[in-house]
């Protein structure tokens, strides 16, 4: 082998520059020309090398995979591999959610393909890769250990008091990202005992940490910060009642009147400093603060007459999401969708938060042309990213015959549609090829999803 490599080196650099090694164990071949002799030697030695290979003994086999304790979803292999080939990650994640419930794991043939997705979709896919997936990830050097968030969450859940002590002792040594994650986990079993540590965090040198602390300090009325904000909010709304009517006057605060720990909202075009200060306060106050008696609809009506109605609305949207106030989320969503003349596409911000009933009612009316603009509704459905009911899915498929721009949108929706809506795609659209292609595409996606989900039925 050594002699062959020496001959190969001579061939690489040329016999004009290098001398061939002497090879005693072979007869003189190739005549006197060194290049000819080099070629013969290479041929003979390579043949000897090839025929003389015995393999090597120094390679250790990789360890074998551990036993899989959970059931392997064998029947999912073909449809799942189809979804992976087509890079339909949402479909794979949908399957993973069901497989996780059934404590089923991926067929091993798909592990290498799925591991490339695990880093990005760790929470959804890690539970379905099974023992073999974890073993393979370890062999491939993939870091799949729990994230800091998860470790902190476990710590907090186990013993909130010990967590507080640990955070107090360690926070100085943490970098700001760690501090942020650690403070956020105080939301688990949040109590009045957490107030001191959150107030310290409210003075943190990083804005992100301060905001996370404020988020928690405003979430419970018993906290001093929440109380202080409620006091700040109290003079904002002034109801004036006369004999014939009631009117609402909104008094926006000056920024200088607000505490330093209250963060400034991002600038909005056309809003002055007082309007921005109003948004800052309203967005951190529970929306229920504003309407103690009377309906929200009446409140909106009065609010719309104020110069500060846009600022008030901006603050309310953020607050409704922040405090997860479902009646307010629904009321605001309905308001924003019905008044596109004023609010344009602002409802998109709430599309994902409206209750299913509210969302569906508005979407169906819009798609059927009863109320609302259908293009606006389509935008809302896209923004919501929520699974669509059977009825809504059917209504969407029915729009296919009327809109030529719906190919991309509909195939996108097909990932969220109810799989039983496939029945709505049975009739070919003969009059238009483009629509027919879309119908087939939607049908294929729904069919794949249906096959994938039903492939788990035997494990149920």
């Amino acid at each position: 082998m050594k002699t062959f490599n020496e001959v190969a080196s001579v061939i690489q650099v040329g016999t004009q520059r290098a001398t061939l090694p002497s090879v005693d164990f072979l007869p003189e071949t190739g005549g006197e020309k060194p290049e000819k002799r080099a070629l013969f030697l290479a041929g003979t030695l390579e043949l000897m090398r090839r025929a003389g290979v015995v393999g090597i003994d120094s390679v250790k086999p990789l360890p074998t995979a551990p036993q899989e304790n959970r059931r392997v979803a064998e029947a999912s292999e073909v449809p799942l591999s189809e979804a992976l080939d087509k890079k339909m990650t949402p479909v794979v994640l949908e399957w993973a959610a069901k497989a996780k419930q059934l404590r089923a794991v991926l067929p091993p043939a798909l592990l290498t393909a799925i591991l490339s997705l695990v880093k990005k979709h760790r929470e959804e896919l890690l539970p379905v890769i099974g023992e073999r997936g974890l073993w393979l990830a370890q062999l491939q050097g993939l870091e799949l250990s729990p994230s800091e968030d998860e470790k902190f969450a476990v710590k907090r859940t186990e013993d909130p008091a010990a967590y507080r002590e640990w955070l107090t002792a360690e926070s100085e040594a943490m970098d700001w990202k760690e501090r942020l994650k650690a403070v956020k986990q105080l939301q688990i079993q949040l109590s009045i005992h957490d107030e001191p540590i959150l107030e310290v965090a409210l003075k943190d040198r990083r804005k992100e940490v301060r905001e996370a602390a404020l988020e928690l300090l405003t979430s419970q009325a018993s906290f001093k910060v929440a109380h202080e904000l409620a006091m700040l909010a109290a003079p904002i709304l002034n109801w004036k009642k006369s004999f014939l009517s009631t009117s609402l006057i909104i008094e926006a605060p000056e920024r200088s009147e607000l505490p330093k720990w209250l963060p400034k909202s991002p600038e909005i075009d056309g809003m002055g400093p007082k309007a921005m200060a109003l948004i800052d306060v309203v967005s951190y106050v529970p929306p229920s603060t504003w309407v103690t008696n009377g309906s929200r609809e009446k409140f909106f009506e009065h609010m719309s007459k104020s110069d500060y109605h846009r600022a008030m609305l901006e603050g309310l949207i953020v607050a409704a999401v922040r405090f997860k106030d479902q009646p307010w989320l629904d009321a605001l969503y309905e308001l924003l969708v019905s008044r596109t003349d004023i609010y344009k596409f602002k409802g998109r911000a709430l599309a994902a938060y409206a209750s299913p009933e509210m969302f569906e009612r508005i979407a169906l009316k819009g798609l059927r042309g009863v109320e609302y603009q259908s293009d606006l509704i389509v935008q809302m459905i896209i923004a919501s990213k929520r699974p669509l009911s059977f009825e809504l899915s059917c209504a969407l498929i029915d729009t296919l015959k009327t809109s030529s721009s719906s190919h991309v949108i509909l195939t996108f929706f097909a990932l969220n549609m109810h799989v039983d809506a496939i029945s709505r795609t049975e009739v070919p659209i003969e009059e238009h090829h483009v629509f027919e292609d879309t119908r087939l595409e939607v049908r294929n996606i729904l069919s794949l999803r249906k096959r994938l989900l039903s492939s788990l039925d035997s494990l149920a």
Binding site: F4, N5, A38, A42, G43, V54, T112, Q140, H433, N444
Partner: protein, 424 residues
């Protein structure tokens, strides 16, 4: 022919995208009509055009017909049809006229071919000898040029002759000299120079092997018959099926592994078969040009009774198959790496131009040394794997010992198939 499995259908696909598209077309919604009988499967695939594509597959010979514009063979529609056939999703039926016409024409052409072959008078031995002599003198002239080209390259060093173009030009000259086998080797060398970290020894080995071939070709008259046949084949004068004269070996042949490769627009399907009663190896080669179907493509995991006539060689391996009758596949046990290497050494000692040799390994597992992958047998002996990602196999079998069949070229093993079932 036994019903194909979905894995075998994937193996038929010309590339991964065709396989994927074919799988997509396996959905019932994609077919306006579909049917099959013992001879063929057919269907009308809905496409973007107004009319559906008419697709048919001859299940006996695996030939395809489709009215779609794709040049891939089989196209995605034929693959979709085969996937549905593999999953037994097609209802039996009577072929429509367009399918029956196609099948009739195929049968007619096959008959005509057989008749023509029977009717063509064999060239007189004297004429054949004259023609071979004429061709051989052309080849010898080409060889002389080729030798001085190689000597120049080695004299200057390969670093100085890294242009693949000059190698291609020499290869073209060898095509003119009617030595396409030499031309192919020259092109491979030209393409390998400077590629990868270990190109030096690889190319030196290829150059040396080619030099031995050129020398042997010059002295062909002095060589024993078997080796003479190997030189002739390696130079590029293949034997015709009709010229094979040895006694055929009649046996049941298990297809243990196959691979498909494309070089110079010719696609070759290499299938390794093993005789059930004697364990004798046989290599079946099927060729296809410009996307035409293979005449016969043995699929891994299938078996058939056939008469195998070996092509002349110092170590005969390649066969021509006739009277093929499907049989159930019978898995078998492989062996140790050392046994496979011994077989390889035996083949190369007799035919230095044999490129690859099959090695069946029992209880094989995978291992790594730095970035290189190896297959390891139960005795702890390891062989390097072809530079390909074996993670799929590791994941699939959890690195439990499995049966492996690979092709060994002296430097790396290309895994053709593997199984976690004990091959008894």
């Amino acid at each position: 022919m036994p019903r194909l499995t979905p894995e075998q259908v994937i193996a038929l696909a010309p590339d991964a995208s065709a396989a994927s598209a074919g799988r997509e077309l396996a959905s019932p919604a994609k077919w306006a009509s579909i049917g099959e009988n013992d001879l063929a499967a057919w269907g009308e695939a809905k496409g973007s055009g107004k009319n559906p594509y008419q697709t048919a597959v001859d299940l006996k010979d695996l030939a395809y017909k489709c009215s779609c514009p794709s040049r891939k063979l089989p196209c995605k529609h034929a693959l979709g049809l085969l996937f549905r056939h593999a999953k037994s999703e097609i209802e039996p039926g009577t072929p429509p006229t367009w399918v029956q016409d196609w099948l009739d024409k195929r049968a007619e052409r096959s008959e005509q071919k057989a008749e023509k072959a029977a009717a063509t008078p064999a060239a007189s031995p004297a004429d054949a000898e004259k023609r071979t002599e004429k061709r051989w003198s052309k080849i010898l002239a080409g060889i002389e040029e080729c030798e001085s080209f190689l000597e120049d390259a080695v004299s200057q060093g390969l670093y100085a002759s890294q242009s693949a173009r000059s190698w291609d030009q020499m290869a073209a000259r060898m095509v003119d000299a009617q030595a396409p086998g030499i031309a192919t080797r020259l092109k491979r060398i030209g393409n390998a120079i400077g590629v990868g970290e270990t190109w030096g020894p690889t190319v030196a080995g290829q150059l040396g092997n080619l030099t031995l071939l050129l020398e042997a070709a010059k002295r062909i008259e002095t060589l024993p018959e078997g080796l003479k046949a190997d030189v002739r084949t390696a130079v590029g004068i293949p034997f015709r099926k009709e010229d094979l004269s040895g006694e055929p070996v009649e046996d049941v042949w298990d297809v243990l592994g196959s691979s498909i490769e494309t070089e110079d627009r010719i696609t070759t399907c290499r299938s390794w078969l093993q005789a059930r009663s004697t364990g004798k190896w046989a290599l079946h080669l099927a060729f296809s040009a410009a996307g035409q179907p293979f005449d016969f493509q043995p699929l891994t995991g299938t078996a058939f009774h056939a008469k195998a006539q070996y092509y002349p060689s110092a170590y005969p391996l390649r066969v021509n198959l006739t009277e093929i009758e499907p049989q159930p596949f019978q898995p078998r046990k492989g062996g140790l790496i050392a046994e496979g290497l011994e077989f390889a050494a035996d083949v190369w000692a007799q035919n230095p131009w044999a490129e690859r040799v099959p090695i069946p390994i029992t209880a094989g597992s995978f291992g790594r040394k730095e970035s290189d992958w190896f297959v390891i047998d139960s005795a702890g002996r390891a062989l390097p794997l072809k530079a390909e990602d074996p993670w799929y196999l590791v994941a699939l079998f959890g690195n439990q010992p499995i049966e492996i069949v690979g092709e060994w070229n002296g430097s790396s093993l290309n895994v053709l198939c593997s199984s976690d079932d004990p091959w008894t």
